[in-house]
Symmetry: C2
């Protein structure tokens, strides 16, 4: 059934408007826990799937065809804009991304190229257009990018990191190089988000996945200005979700950086987090992805607990606290979505 | 110079009594950043060094001979009590601990043995006695153990873990097995701490290093009762430091579980954390270990910042937010200790 944009419960919740039930989508909802995804992955590498518009569109729609999700999110990866900037990486088996030439000095940072998303990542714009057409306005489509800090940390460390020694090393000891890198990254991400919005995404999420390794003071000094710049750089206003993990002490600063919705992980009590943030911003979260592996009774208990903490307030989007785990049973996902819709439609007096 | 126990600034700060300056010690202060430690490690494995009382005592004293630290901490590892419980593990090169037979079902949990620390880990008691004699009461000696959750997670996962899926799986799906495991672990740790105190340690730290992967609700339900049991099980009262990382949302609950001092990592503003905890408990922390790699100016700025946040209040022990990193320059450690002593002796009106 087609809908006008203003009828989408997901977009309404982002703007803290009343909805009939709490909308839900799941980070990494298109992923390895789906048989049909694994079938495609046998034939194509992860990056091949990201870069082929038809495949990316197909994968984006896989969970939508199975579940009553309230939003789709385009299948892609936060590292995609780094390729055209001149940074080479690959996904090593079971290891996550590997950068063979991590970038650590001023000269290398200066060589990074600006990108023209319509040309350099035209495949992404194409897959957004395909998905929008396929969705026939049943649910909205979310675009996304990594935040400047998280992308910079990948480039500097050469992959995931335990202690972020090299990233912090650049911040602390080569402030001007850090600023050049973050400035470039911000400009790239502004273009990247604007191009996705132009191509048709109706909301965006900024993933600052690893920023939780920083003290609040360092976040404020070295990261906040750049995240803010990216968020303020969006020309056509769509709802923006600002997400990080292990970020309970950064939430207030993340709100300062911007976003209509702050995404929180399971390490916080979502009710307390919202109270601390203030109710002039919407909130997204925060089921522990591991709970989805558990028995249905456990899922039920935890869903009720989260909805109870939200207490019927407008502006909550249900999600996991981080990406869905590969060994998650598919039927648990279906059950979760039904529960969120059912329970929230009964217990949310403020919404109606 | 010998001192009576009540004159130690470290023990006084644990009890929130006035001190002339802020005492400081560093987690993993006896470790790979020291040349003399690396020289010994060439000849002995890590576990050989833990289990040989003379070597363990020598390593414990290495940083004390170099620096004006306000406390020594016995050289050992949180996994040591697991050996006599019947759990086999080794330290694989560069990988941390590896358990070849992770323990995941009820039968295996029931087979875990109680320990008699005076016999089963007599080497630890011996090294405590040697260190106490060598220290000649110049500074106090800290003993330690892992908390029940952190040790259980190692046994169940078979080493470090990214998502703690198996540990949470047992919590959620085999509650009775989890309870048996945590009950046994708690009893072992009570005996282990009491034996260390009897052997001569003058304070203890409980490391719940990985508990930050839990939601506050899960901590409260599955972990708090056991940590509390361990802390309450100490017979001869000595100051207890209760420490975890990524634990900003758990601090209040950790205080409920117990401890004279709560140890916090760098992810929180230590002033805010203390205000939230309440001033009826002392606080330890919280320099980012990566800062110690930076230039002296940076260290100075951060030390001043932490002391400023503490604002001269009684009951602060300076420490890192986690263990010292292997590539930390030795002279930075010396500088840090001097700065903490010097700056705090000038700016702490409440103490004098």
């Amino acid at each position: 059934m087609k809908k006008a944009e203003e009828e989408y419960s997901f977009l309404k919740a982002c703007q803290r408007q009343p909805t009939d039930y709490t909308p839900i989508w799941l980070m990494r909802q298109a992923g390895r826990y789906l048989r049909e995804y694994r079938a495609l992955r046998k034939k194509y590498s992860f990056l091949e799937m990201c870069k082929n518009p038809e495949l990316a569109a197909e994968v984006t729609l896989q969970p939508i065809n199975r579940f009553k999700l309230d939003a789709a999110i385009i299948f892609s990866d936060i590292l995609i804009p780094l390729g055209p900037m001149g940074v080479k990486f690959e996904f090593a088996k079971g290891e996550g991304p590997v950068f063979h030439h991590p970038l650590r000095d001023r000269k290398e940072v200066e060589k990074l190229r600006m990108i023209e998303p319509e040309e350099d990542v035209s495949f992404l714009m194409k897959s957004i257009q395909i998905v929008r057409a396929e969705l026939e306005n049943q649910i909205p489509l979310i675009g996304f990018c990594g935040a400047p800090f998280t992308l910079a940390s990948y480039i500097i460390e050469g992959g995931h990191s335990k202690n972020y020694i090299l990233t912090k090393g650049m911040m602390y000891q080569n402030r001007s190089t850090w600023d050049v890198l973050m400035e470039k990254m911000s400009e790239v991400l502004i273009r990247y988000l604007n191009a996705q919005i132009k191509a048709g995404v109706q909301a965006v999420q900024v993933f600052d996945s690893w920023v939780g390794c920083l003290s609040p003071q360092d976040y404020k000094e070295f990261v906040l200005p750049y995240s803010k710049k990216v968020i303020n750089g969006i020309r056509k206003k769509v709802p923006l979700i600002h997400f990080a993990t292990s970020s309970s002490t950064l939430l207030g600063l993340m709100k300062q950086a911007g976003g209509d919705v702050i995404g929180v992980d399971w390490r916080v009590d979502i009710g307390e987090a919202w109270a601390r943030l203030g109710y002039d911003v919407a909130i997204q979260g925060n089921l522990d992805p591991v709970v989805l592996l558990g028995p249905v009774n456990l899922i039920k208990k935890e869903v009720k607990e989260i909805l109870h903490r939200i207490g019927g307030r407008r502006g909550h989007i249900f999600n996991l606290g981080h990406g869905i785990l590969p060994n998650t049973p598919v039927d648990h996902v279906a059950v979760l979505i039904d529960m969120v819709h059912e329970f929230s439609s009964k217990v949310r007096p403020e919404r109606r």
